[in-house]
């Protein structure tokens, strides 16, 4: 009688190849500003921001089921806090990063309220909270109402240096969050989050600490969004409350994640790339571009609800990066 | 009248119904028995169109209704008193009946005739369905199905949760329906004695498949219990001798 043994495999050959490729690409990108022209560096920084936003929103809404329509709260908050910290005399680069941490920390008390809500109420409540944050921020005379302000302190640095440091910050933030998200999803927290997303009661019954899991993901996502907001400020210099706190950021995140492919790791990256290309190519058309974007969103919702990576995945028969655990069965050497 | 062929239905990843076929003639009562989890409710949810993941064919009076939406099947003459009754608790008894009458088929069953058949409903017409007792709710549920003037009506676990007196009253009303001979009735029951007493024919379900089928008068107690529990009958010759 043969005894089967099972071996746990957390990596596939394709997965390992992908990781090595990604590491090489990352190294190349880090060296890139030396060769690329200024506009390219700026544009790529924007791409890092999009990828970061998409990955983080996918973690929140796709994997943990927390569909927040208010992430712009942290996007704008981080930018505002940067301006405030600089006003108090802090070095702008430190302020950018510090503000993101503070914004992430502010997410903790918010989570005690928001995470008690579900579904549509959670979605709208997060949107309302973002609006509340915006209005409160606008009380600060530093923001000058609708006029906003600028991170002039950055002008103290040479434009090339400013551009490059922003680029590296963006690249580091994006890469860092890609790695972090990957680790989290494959960890206990990741499977706990997915269990909670699918059936909260069942998850509770097998001992998953539901609130703890949700909180960790919520705060992580807030921090990631906040980082993106900081880098956006560093890149754009200007801070306009209605723009930085606008709900269109959530709409972009939603677009990227759904067009790319919800609940996959590769999907949001693909979606961000697509969004970036669309923005670069068509945004000069102004209103009609946004019109078209909305139209594309509707088309995808109707025709390709799994997103592009969902389509690719079906053709390929799997993902590039393994998200789960494979059980490989091996018969022992005993039987004849 | 109602012909069901090779129904297969899945519940998530579980194959809940496997290759079930049967038929119900006009005026006939078919009893369906089986333990909890045997697939009875999934089978009838599939037949009425509420359960989407199904293959097989359902024919009513020669019309193929296998792919129709539930409301269309009701329009074709198939009604169900669902498990758990599923009344509209915020609506009055009268409204619960009215809604079915307005959207079902026209026929002999009207509010007046349904109230005659189920007189317990007369005093509670204005009450909200959510405030009723179990027996009253069951009566409303049956009345609601009748208001659609079905050719075949499926009663899924109608005695569930009712007191013995309520069940008696219930089967009395059902007896009148049976006596009229115009409707095919399918009775899904946990109470084996009632099922065999009331039905003309019995089918028994176990793990999604039919394990026994026959006229209720001809089946022995042993036949039924072994089919119900999935026990292999020791000797058929032995049980036939006892019959």
């Amino acid at each position: 009688m043969s005894v089967s043994r099972f071996q746990y495999e957390r990596w596939t050959p394709a997965g390992l190849r992908t990781v090595w490729t990604a590491a090489v690409v990352l190294a190349a990108l880090a060296a890139a500003p030396i060769v690329l022209p200024a506009t390219a560096v700026e544009k790529l920084t924007t791409l890092w921001i999009y990828v970061l936003l998409a990955v983080v929103w996918n973690l929140l809404a796709g994997f943990a089921g927390l569909v927040s329509v208010g992430q712009q709260a942290f996007f704008g908050l981080s930018a505002y806090l940067t301006l405030r910290l600089v006003e108090w005399g802090l070095n702008p680069w430190l302020a950018l990063v510090g503000a993101a941490f503070i914004a992430g920390a502010i997410a903790i008390p918010i989570s005690f309220y928001a995470l008690k809500l579900k579904g549509g109420e959670f979605a709208i409540a997060t949107w309302v909270i973002a609006e509340v944050v915006r209005i409160c921020v606008m009380f600060d005379p530093l923001v000058q109402g609708d006029t906003g302000n600028s991170l002039i302190a950055l002008n103290a640095y040479a434009p090339d240096l400013r551009r490059e440091v922003t680029y590296w910050l963006g690249l580091a933030a994006m890469a860092g969050f890609l790695v972090l998200t990957f680790r989290v999803l494959r960890s206990k927290i990741g499977s706990a989050a997915q269990a909670v997303r699918d059936d909260e009661e069942a998850a509770l019954s097998v001992g998953v600490s539901v609130m703890q899991t949700k909180r960790i993901i919520f705060v992580l996502a807030a921090f990631g969004t906040a980082l993106a907001g900081s880098i956006w400020l560093a890149s754009a210099i200007t801070f306009l409350p209605r723009t930085n706190f606008g709900v269109q950021w959530t709409v972009f995140m939603l677009f990227m994640v759904l067009v790319g492919g919800l609940r996959t790791f590769e999907g949001p990256i693909l979606g961000a790339l697509i969004f970036f290309v669309l923005q670069e190519t068509f945004s000069s058309y102004g209103v009609w571009y946004l019109f078209g974007l909305g139209f594309i969103a509707i088309l995808f919702a109707l025709a390709l609800p799994d997103g592009l990576w969902g389509l690719i995945r079906r053709k390929r028969g799997g993902d590039l990066l393994p998200m789960g655990t494979l059980l490989k069965q091996q018969a022992s050497g005993q039987d004849a | 009248m109602l012909e069901v062929k090779n129904i297969e239905a899945r519940h998530g990843l579980l194959q809940a119904v496997r290759g079930v076929s049967f038929s119900v003639r006009k005026g006939e009562v078919l009893g369906v028995i089986g333990a909890n989890g045997a697939g009875k409710t999934t089978l009838f949810r599939a037949i009425t169109g509420v359960h989407p993941d199904m293959t097989g064919s359902v024919t009513l009076n020669g019309q193929d209704i296998s792919t129709l939406r539930p409301a269309r099947r009701v329009a074709a003459g198939l009604a169900m008193v669902p498990e758990g009754r599923r009344l509209f608790p915020d609506m009055s008894v009268r409204e619960n009946l009215q809604v079915a009458g307005e959207h079902g088929r026209r026929g002999d069953w009207t509010l007046a005739t349904v109230l005659d058949a189920l007189p317990a409903l007369k005093p509670i017409l204005k009450s909200l369905a959510g405030n009723l007792s179990g027996g009253q709710r069951q009566a409303v549920a049956i009345g609601r199905a009748l208001m659609t003037n079905p050719n075949v009506v499926i009663m899924d676990e109608v005695s569930l949760g009712l007191s013995p007196i309520a069940i008696e009253g219930l089967y009395e009303s059902l007896g009148q329906l049976k006596a009229s001979g115009k409707t095919g009735i399918v009775v899904v029951e946990q109470d084996l004695r009632r099922a065999t007493a009331f039905s003309d024919r019995i089918i028994c379900l176990l793990e999604g498949a039919i394990t026994l089928e026959g006229a209720s008068g001809e089946l022995s107690h042993d036949d039924i219990t072994s089919a119900y529990f999935g026990l292999k009958a020791e000797s058929h010759e032995g049980s036939a001798a006892h019959a």
């Binding site: 609800p305 | 009701v74 409204e95």
Partner: protein
């Protein structure tokens, strides 16, 4: 302060019309239409267009738009909303945001970003008011809109309570499957509901354009207010949308009395507070449920 409260109550009338459509859709189709505000604004722009460019009397323009938007609503449910329901919660979100973007930018593209208003076309109604004791003046237009809101809600109540369609709508809201088993074609009922919601959106849009200015991007803000009114009054309750709208209107007006920026903020805070209060142990009680329990029956 008293006149702020009165203004708030009257503002609640406008919110009730907008919120009622949202609430009906939410109940019968279980679909949260985030583009509802944009659709109301679209209707407003079309009414203004008919009045300003084709010189139609306002009432005619509104009456003409009712079936047009109703038909649009029917089509949206049939070809768009219903198809996205199987995608869980996120697909409807993407769809309605996409629809909103299409509407907002379409309006901008066709009509430009100028703010528009029906205020120029209603004569002195835009500013006429009655003088009450204690130096309070009450605008005539807000009162008319409030009265219209009550008429609309009464009509909806009659529809729901006494008509075949209304009963079917209620049954579908309570239990869609059981409704189907009773012979109700839920899909048809849902299409009709969205058509009704769009008719309400026309009235709300016209009211908004008369009271104040509209621009192509006003939609989402109005949607938030409508949702806040629905939640404060209790999801699933028709008269709750009026109660919720009134509470919201009062909160906003009191805020505005102190400072213009507090208009929205006070409303948001009341909304978040009501949500919190409900979670803390009031169960799923909203204002309307509370009123309902006082009356001892269903509204």
């Amino acid at each position: 302060m008293l006149d702020a409260i009165i203004q708030g109550v009257l503002l609640g009338g406008y919110y009730a019309i907008l919120a009622a459509g949202l609430s009906l859709m939410l109940g019968v189709t279980r679909f949260l239409n985030l583009a509802h505000g944009d659709l109301a604004v679209l209707a407003a722009y079309l009414v203004i267009y008919l009045v300003a460019t084709w010189h139609l009397p306002i009432v005619w323009a509104i009456v003409l738009m009712l079936p047009v938007m109703g038909l649009l609503g029917w089509a949206l449910q049939a070809f768009l909303f219903a198809r996205t329901m199987k995608g869980g919660f996120l697909l409807p979100l993407l769809t309605t945001f996409g629809l909103g973007a299409v509407i907002q930018n379409g309006i901008y593209g066709v009509f430009s970003s100028d703010v528009k208003s029906l205020g120029n076309f209603i004569g002195n109604l835009a500013w006429a008011s009655w003088k009450l004791p204690f130096h309070i003046s009450v605008g005539k237009l807000p009162v008319y809109i409030f009265v219209a809101a009550v008429v609309v809600l009464v009509s909806l109540q009659l529809l729901l309570s006494f008509t075949k369609l209304g009963r079917a709508m209620r049954a579908t809201t309570i239990d869609e499957e059981a409704a189907e088993l009773s012979g109700i074609d839920a899909r048809r009922i849902q299409r009709a509901t969205v058509a009704i919601a769009m008719v309400l959106a026309v009235l709300a849009g016209a009211a908004l354009a008369m009271r104040s200015l509209v621009n192509p991007y006003t939609g989402p803000t109005q949607l938030i207010f409508a949702f806040e009114a629905v939640v404060i009054g209790g999801i699933g309750s028709l008269w709750g949308t009026l109660a919720g709208g009134i509470v919201l209107g009062i909160a906003q007006s009191l805020g505005a009395k102190i400072s213009p920026q507090l208009f929205q903020l006070f409303g948001h805070i009341v909304f978040l507070a009501v949500l919190w209060w409900r979670l803390k142990g009031a169960g799923s009680l909203g204002l309307a449920n509370f009123l309902r329990s006082l009356k001892g029956g269903r509204a």
